[in-house]
Symmetry: C2
Subunit: 191 residues, 2 copies
Amino acid sequence: MKELKRAVLEKGIVVGDDILKVDMFLNHRIDTGLALAMGNYIADYFREKSPNIIFTIEASGIAIAITTAIALENIPVVFAKKTAASNQGADRLYANVHSFTKNKDYLVSVERDYLPSGSCVLIVDDFLANGEAMRGLIKITEYANCKLCGAAVAIEKAFQSGGRELRSQGVDLLSLCKIKSIGNDEIILED
Amino acid sequence: MKELKRAVLEKGIVVGDDILKVDMFLNHRIDTGLALAMGNYIADYFREKSPNIIFTIEASGIAIAITTAIALENIPVVFAKKTAASNQGADRLYANVHSFTKNKDYLVSVERDYLPSGSCVLIVDDFLANGEAMRGLIKITEYANCKLCGAAVAIEKAFQSGGRELRSQGVDLLSLCKIKSIGNDEIILED
């Protein structure tokens, strides 16, 4: 997706060998116009599959999830939570996720009622690297007896294995910007 | 705001004496149409003050922050983060916040560059009770030398002190739905 690729190349900052900092427009400060454009792009790609729930994970996925939901005639957004608060209901679906950025495991969970059995679920997230978070969301989608109609991420680090593995398992995965390599202050995109 | 009040009365669940569970439409599963309507309502109220940044806190504030930003001609959204990840920059502004829901203190922080000095900041969040999170966001707005043009929350627990204190300090605070009392499975709204 042209606008996102341009933002990554113009504004993205390489930190060390494998961290791409894009939080000036994607996941700390959000460029609202770009988020709307990404939502429209994702919606156009998946519209014919008729998703009726957008599923994401707090916090950085929520902005694109909302704009995708708006473009799909205001279908609801459900976001998985990372920690248990005292007012959470008892009937929840859980999956374990390892975060390489934060270097720890955590549980993600969703209240079962919010993913009704038989729903057609489109997963949306900001980043895909090793695919840990995405696999957690897919597991929860399966536990809920929902149909996974596809998954979309803003940025895929194509030099890590998550995207390749998910596609080989048959997931219809859309990446708006694929990073071929980063390092030495340089960002190389796939075509 | 009529649509939100109706949703609170029809779908909200009282847990114990002071917890109102509204995560079926506001902060776990998001009713996208309602989020858009709330964003329009907040934008209409604050438009003449010309805010140029929406400021919120992860995770539940992001949805309404985005829809408010869309209604204000796509101004950017900045969300404060609750924990430090390894790829965060060094020049950050911090505030301490106590969460009564999770019963712990935590630091919220923002990268300084994303709240440029002199910006006109509109704070948006889902809930206001004791006002702890809101006070943290206001402190950060001040540290950044920004102007606070106002604050908007979806639901104010008016039986707790946050809203009263903030208004007495001169904050232009908009609540879309004020809860007068909850308990005994009953929710009473202010007019």
